[in-house]
């Protein structure tokens, strides 16, 4: 893949500012004073302890999924289907939680997490195996698999997994043993953000210090040369894809166990997709993705609050997010183009 890794850091703040200005113009077009709207957004993201907690809660799934997608980018593959892996993870966690409702909390949570990780990884495995053994584009298969996963979840929530006590398509609420412990008394913040931070640091360490991480980076830069040097390229690609699916599944578990307390149809407002731009903005590095997730989390939490208080559609935040990343890509690509060509290339 071209121009994914090695984004120029200096371009990021400039891109953010330009994207915010364009967003401001759009807000003005919708008939609202942009300063007022952005004020509401800031307030909604950081204004009170609960708002700050909302930002971190929003950042958690973005960070977990974003780290996984970043690992994929480093290996040269593209997981566009984290959304489906996330939903199935949430589904598996909720079903497991309800089955074990009487077990001790630690066992229940562990079992739910494992079920979610397995579900996410299994869903990603379909695309990974089709890619590695049959050459099917993982970009397209993961998107298609997300649609299938969405319908599968819809079927389960309307059918076998539905809480018989309500007409709504959702599972039974989890008992307290299935709920993630809180982190910040007085707010709804749960321990998910700590898990995400640990995952990001572990992935950072893995890429930098482990043989496996080195092999991922080498494969991503030139899979043909990596294979001819004896690296197990297929195994590497499958492993990063499964890891990415597992992290998306884990995020699904955290969302079910830490936020919703049950599985619902609209578990995700598009975390799996936003996480792609989180990974890109984070320059495909785990720590970068974590920071980008915090930023996007603040935008999302603030955006929701802005919609209710000043009536600007929260989708303007989505626009700002994607614009930021497109601007960074444009800047980085333009720089690559300006680099003078080497004589060695000329004479080959």
């Amino acid at each position: 893949m071209r121009v994914i890794v090695g984004t120029d850091i200096a371009s990021i703040p400039i891109a953010i500012i330009i994207a915010l200005v364009i967003g401001g113009v759009l807000i003005a077009l919708s008939g609202v004073n942009p300063f007022e709207a952005y004020g509401a957004l800031l307030q909604g993201a950081f204004g009170t302890p609960q708002h700050l907690a909302d930002t971190l809660i929003e950042a958690t799934p973005l960070a977990l999924i974003g780290v996984g997608i970043a690992l994929c980018f480093r290996a040269g593959v593209f997981n566009v289907g984290a959304e489906g892996q996330f939903l199935l993870g949430g589904m598996a966690a909720a079903i497991t939680g309800n089955l074990l409702s009487t077990a001790p909390a630690i066992a229940t949570l562990l079992a739910m997490a494992i079920a979610a990780v397995l579900a996410g990884a299994a869903w990603a495995a379909i695309a990974a195996l089709l890619k590695v053994y049959l050459g099917a584009s993982e970009t397209l298969t993961t998107i298609m698999l997300t649609y299938v996963a969405t319908y599968l979840v819809s079927y389960l929530l309307n059918g076998p997994a539905r809480d018989p006590a309500t007409p709504i398509a959702q599972t039974q609420p989890l008992t307290t043993s299935g709920l993630l412990p809180g982190l910040w008394p007085g707010t709804t913040l749960h321990v998910g953000i700590v898990i995400a931070l640990i995952v990001a640091v572990a992935a950072h360490y893995f890429l930098r210090r482990r043989v496996g991480g080195f092999q991922i980076v080498a494969t991503g830069l030139n899979p043909v040369a990596a294979r001819s040097a004896g690296l197990p390229v297929r195994r590497i690609l499958i492993s990063v894809f499964l890891t990415s699916g597992a992290l998306a599944g884990l995020a699904g578990f955290i969302q079910v166990s830490g936020v919703q307390g049950k599985m619902i149809v609209n578990l995700s407002p598009g975390y799996g997709y936003t996480a792609i731009v989180v990974a890109l903005l984070g320059r495909s590095t785990p720590l970068g993705a974590f920071l980008a997730a915090l930023f996007f989390g603040a935008l999302s939490a603030g955006g929701a609050s802005m919609e209710t208080s000043v009536g600007v559609p929260a989708s303007v935040v989505t626009i700002v997010q994607y614009l930021t990343v497109l601007l960074v890509i444009a800047y980085t690509a333009a720089r690559t183009l300006r680099r003078p060509s080497r004589v060695a290339d000329e004479e080959e």
Partner: protein, 315 residues
């Protein structure tokens, strides 16, 4: 014979008519993508182009009362989004898959925003003036072919003419030669003083225009309203159709009809109350796409320079 009776029955006619109606947006998008991919440029942004066009077509048609103006708006929107993609991936060396996906996601947010601003509604527009079917006398009563071809809106005929034109352009015109050269051996075209990047840029715009028609078809013909995210992955399915159809106009036509048939079948099955949960029926087009990619993903020989960025003076 039962099957014959069913084919000529109202049900059968409805089925084949639906097949075409469901196939055409895919066909339009995929035929356009032939230009892009044969020139070496990947268009992953079809989904976003279709979605943006579906919205602009619906808004303009509703505002002016003219579905034809709506259609034009759709085409212009498709071209505009394609131009953005072309700037990133032809003029600049950005990764076409990444940028395409990002544009598609931007289109989801963008259409939602614009839609809410303009319509002050959530979810769907009120009905827009659509393009009606114009049955051709006599021909419309031929079994299968009649409902498939001769009882459709003029946009269907545009799509079919587009297939023929594309075949002629690729096979017989000098631009078609240039297009294929740019996709197979860009340096050869460059060595003759021909601009590879201009060719690819224009090819992407053509692809955007076709995707725009496909998007407009969704909100003006297939249904007469805009629904948030109404493309539902059709832009990606079109890419699989391109592979199944070997990037040839006739192959793409057959592949689109196959997908239309699959979609019509699942709609039919939903109406017939087969006992299969509707969610599983809705999965059919997506599963069909995955199977297509799995079976044909590696068989087909891509244009040699597909997805590479061309820079003068480099090989």
């Amino acid at each position: 014979m039962d099957i014959f009776n069913w084919i000529v029955s109202a049900q059968g006619e409805g089925f084949f008519s639906a097949t075409m109606r469901l196939a055409v947006p895919l066909l339009l998008a995929a035929v356009g993508a032939i230009y892009a991919e044969r020139s070496g440029a990947i268009n992953v942004g079809i989904e976003g182009m279709m979605l943006s066009s579906a919205l602009s077509a619906a808004l303009v048609a509703a505002d002016t009362g003219s579905p034809t103006l709506g259609l034009l708006a759709g085409v212009v929107t498709g071209i505009a989004v394609a131009a953005l993609l072309a700037v990133f991936t032809v003029l600049l060396p950005a990764d076409p898959v990444v940028v395409g996906i990002a544009l598609n996601l931007l289109a989801v947010g963008g259409t939602t925003f614009v839609f809410r601003i303009f319509s002050n509604q959530v979810g769907t527009t009120t009905t827009t003036p659509g393009i009606d079917a114009e049955p051709i006398p006599l021909l419309e009563s031929i079994p299968i072919l009649g409902p498939l071809l001769f009882d459709q809106s003029y946009l269907v005929y545009i799509a079919l003419i587009g297939v023929v034109i594309t075949w002629v352009v690729l096979k017989f015109t000098s631009w078609g030669l240039l297009l294929r050269a740019a996709g197979e051996h860009p340096a050869a075209a460059d060595s003759l003083g021909l601009s590879v990047n201009r060719t690819r840029f224009v090819a992407l715009l053509v692809s955007g225009a076709f995707a725009g028609l496909g998007g407009a078809f969704l909100s003006l013909v297939a249904s007469t309203q805009f629904v948030e995210n109404m493309t539902a992955g059709r832009g990606y399915i079109a890419m699989a159709i391109l592979i199944l159809g070997h990037r040839s106009p006739w192959g793409v036509l057959l592949a689109s009809l196959l997908f239309g048939l699959g979609d019509a079948f699942q709609l039919r099955a939903q109406l017939d109350n087969t006992g299969v949960p509707f969610q599983f029926l809705l999965m059919i087009p997506y599963v069909l796409t995955i199977v297509t990619l799995a079976v044909f993903g590696r068989r087909l020989i891509d244009p040699a320079a597909l997805g590479t960025h061309f820079r003068r003076g480099h090989r």
